[in-house]
């Protein structure tokens, strides 16, 4: 009877374990998963343009259960009306990321306003539906400048686009944020709006730099409807130089002994040797004491 109870108990435990273990649960079913398909573009500090698609699925019931879509082919197409030009085709990584980087001198199809439209397309498979995302932006050039004149530190940007003739057109308005690179993340130091292609401010912060006082500054236009993402970076010796903290070395390893050591040792030795001298003096007194011999 007891053995049967034990068997029943063990079977129950096994059943519980099996039913709670996701590894043994039913296979992947796209119906249970929400699809997140995001597309963005960033003009990087070397003026190359990055197109990036993030293709991730999330369990509708358990939001912690995220599953990237691996080896999904993403086609990046430059679109203008009915025209489509394939910019490149990339497979997603294990993290569900597909990245396409195009050089600075890449030519795009542009509309009359100079806008570029790029489409990121995933064609349908047996398991997943077709995904499509499109972004439209103007190709903005951001010139980042840092100067120091008469101890006045100035940070400025010059933002413009190029028309079909190659003439620069200053940006009328765009939000811009300035950061300083910290050890782990970027520290926001200024936020404003570019007007007539220019934004300028005086740098007055006291931020520690590296051992040579260097700071890395970033000027970033983030998720702009007109310009998408643009990043520029520059280094300048605007950091407060922090002197390396000098470790207090063990004084006894130094060339000269600390003064307290001489004092303490001298006091101790003088005390002890004075006592020796005192004893010897008393011995002489004993020796020189005039006494009658015992009779």
């Amino acid at each position: 009877m007891k053995i049967n109870q034990l068997k029943l108990f063990i079977s129950a435990i096994i059943l519980i374990v099996i039913s709670t273990d996701k590894s043994l649960a039913q296979g992947f079913n796209a119906d249970n998963y929400k699809i997140f398909y995001n597309f963005k573009t960033v003009k990087q500090i070397d003026n190359k343009r990055l197109f990036e698609v993030s293709f991730v699925t999330q369990n509708a019931e358990d939001k912690l259960d995220e599953m990237p879509v691996f080896k999904a082919e993403i086609k990046f197409l430059n679109v203008l009306g009915e025209q489509e030009v394939l910019l490149g085709s990339v497979l997603t990584s294990k993290d569900g990321i597909a990245q396409l980087i195009l050089p600075e001198n890449q030519t795009y199809l542009k509309d009359s306003d100079g806008r570029i439209t790029v489409r990121a397309k995933f064609e349908a498979t047996d398991a997943l539906e077709e995904q499509l995302e499109e972004i439209s932006f103007k190709d903005l050039t951001l010139e980042f400048d840092i100067t120091e004149i008469d101890s006045v530190r100035t940070i400025s940007v010059n933002a413009y686009t190029l028309d079909n003739n190659g003439e620069s057109i200053p940006v009328e308005a765009a939000d811009i944020v300035f950061y300083v690179q910290g050890m782990l993340s970027k520290l926001k130091i200024e936020e404003g709006a570019i007007e007539q292609g220019v934004y300028e401010f005086e740098y007055v912060n006291q931020i520690p730099g590296d051992d040579k006082g260097n700071l890395t500054f970033y000027a970033m236009i983030e998720e702009s409807d007109d310009f998408a993402n643009v990043i520029q970076m520059k280094k300048a010796k605007f950091g407060t130089i922090i002197e390396k903290s000098k470790m207090d070395k063990n004084a006894l390893w130094a060339d000269a002994a600390p003064i307290w050591m001489y004092i303490v040792l001298s006091i101790l030795l003088i005390g002890v040797y004075s006592n020796f001298a005192y004893s010897i003096v008393n011995l002489f007194k004993i020796r020189n004491e005039k006494v009658e011999p015992e009779s």
């Binding site: 002994a257 001489y262 030795l269 006592n275 004893s279 004993i286 006494v291 015992e294």
Partner: protein, 451 residues
């Protein structure tokens, strides 16, 4: 009480100790001299051929010489400490053992530092220690401490000798002693006549010196411990080393006192001066020190084991593998035997207490061995491309010979000093008798331990 006649009687009583060299004593001295001669030969060989003929190498740069140094100096410091305590607190039964302790203190202090000289590869540069001392170094502290303590011990021993030297000076006309010895009594007694003022003055400086000697013993042995513990060497870098050394020194010191008491009592037939009670008291002190020493040793090893630092772990592994037998003998047998012997009342005989003291002494020497050698065999940076003799230490006959020479020299000087002054202070006997007479006059009962 006729003090003059009592002094004469005491000199007569102790005269066989001073005058006669029995055949056994002569043989004993000859044996010790022979051991010393072999040691001198070994020393000459070591100077000529260098440390190559010892077991010491690049890894284990300190061998049994340093162990002997710690051991002898420990005996000396503990002797000074015990003697100082006996004098300072005017312990009633001190007279029976005080001279043994004082002599032991001075001889051990003379012999101990000689071993450190044997460790030095370039003796020709020894004077650099004095010309270019580095005051931050514990080695320099130790030199200062040892020299100061040596002076203190000599002075202290001499102060305790003076009353007896005066008695011998005044009563040795009829003794069959060499002329130089009688002249020495006269010279060293510095016209001491035991007048009240002289006695008062002598007692005053002896008591002060006993205090100094206690303090110096603690300071000097702590400094010796710091030579080890202020390094980062695995097994040495311990905050508990200084008190541990002091307890270990006292433990070895009381052991030597018990062993000396046994042989002196037996050789000079001093059963009416050194009672079984003295052994029992010394045995109880031995037991307490064994427990304390065991506690300190356990604490030291336990913290090393618990911290699981890789170097300490390697060291402890070697102690429990390669040195397992020595570890058991040193830290179990060497501690438990003295504790158990004194614990059982039936075992508290003179022989058994002496046996316990011998075990304690040997155990402690082994403990010092385990302190020095395995630590040096496990350095932070292992040396490369060397033979096993570089990695593991084993002493050669040169080192053993010089070690036995140290022991022989200790015994020889002890034997000769026991021929120079009585091993039981005569002045102390008279003082005790005077004290007893005064108490009887006051119809008080005499102290149990007065002799």
């Amino acid at each position: 009480m006729d003090i003059i006649n009592r002094k004469k009687a005491l000199v007569e009583e102790f005269s066989p100790m001073l005058e006669k060299y029995s055949k056994l004593t002569k043989l004993w001295i000859a044996f010790l001299v022979a051991v010393i001669i072999v040691g001198i030969v070994a020393f000459v060989l070591q100077v000529v051929y260098g440390h190559e003929i010892t077991g010491m190498r690049d890894n284990v740069v300190w061998g049994i010489y340093i162990i002997n140094f710690i051991f002898f100096v420990g005996i000396s410091y503990s002797g000074a400490f015990i003697s100082g305590i006996l004098h300072f607190f005017k312990t009633p039964w001190k007279n029976s053992i005080s001279r043994i302790v004082e002599i032991m203190t001075v001889i051990a202090m003379v012999i101990g530092p000689v071993f450190i000289l044997l460790c030095i590869g370039r003796l020709d540069r020894l004077h650099y220690l004095f010309i270019y001392p580095r005051i931050q170094s514990p080695i320099t502290w130790d030199i200062i401490a040892v020299m100061t303590d040596l002076i203190a011990c000599f002075l202290y021993l001499y102060l305790t000798f003076i009353p007896d030297l005066a008695i011998l000076r005044d009563n040795s006309e009829n003794l069959n002693l060499p002329k130089w010895q009688k002249k020495m009594y006269k010279f060293l007694a510095i016209r001491y006549q035991d007048t009240p003022s002289q006695r008062h003055r002598l007692h005053k400086i002896t008591r002060t010196m006993s205090t100094i000697v206690i303090v110096l013993a603690i300071v000097a042995y702590s400094v010796l411990a710091w030579i080890f513990s202020l390094t980062l060497q695995p097994g040495w870098n311990s905050t508990i080393f200084a008190p541990n050394f002091i307890i270990a020194g006292l433990y070895s010191g009381i052991s030597v006192i018990i062993i000396s008491m046994y042989f002196i009592r037996r050789q000079f037939k001093l059963e009416h001066y050194i009672f079984q009670k003295h052994f029992v008291i010394a045995g109880i002190i031995l037991q307490i020190l064994a427990l304390l020493f065991g506690y300190f040793t356990f604490t030291d090893y336990f913290s090393k084991w618990f911290s699981t630092k890789i170097d300490d772990t390697i060291l402890l592994n070697s102690l429990f593998s390669r040195y397992f037998i020595e570890f058991i003998l040193a830290n179990y047998i060497g501690i438990l035997v003295p504790v158990l012997v004194i614990f059982f009342k039936k075992l508290r005989t003179v022989k058994m207490i002496t046996f316990a003291a011998v075990i304690a002494l040997l155990g402690l020497w082994l403990n010092r061995y385990l302190l020095v050698v395995p630590s040096l065999e496990n350095p932070f940076l292992p040396i490369q491309e060397t033979g096993p003799e570089y990695i593991h230490y084993s002493a050669t006959w040169i080192e053993y010979s010089l070690s036995f020479t140290g022991i022989a020299a200790f015994l020889l000087i002890f034997t000769l000093l026991a021929k120079f002054v009585p091993i039981i202070p005569m002045s102390g006997i008279i003082e005790n008798e005077e004290f007893k007479a005064k108490r009887i006059q006051k119809k008080d009962s005499p102290d149990e331990f007065d002799i």
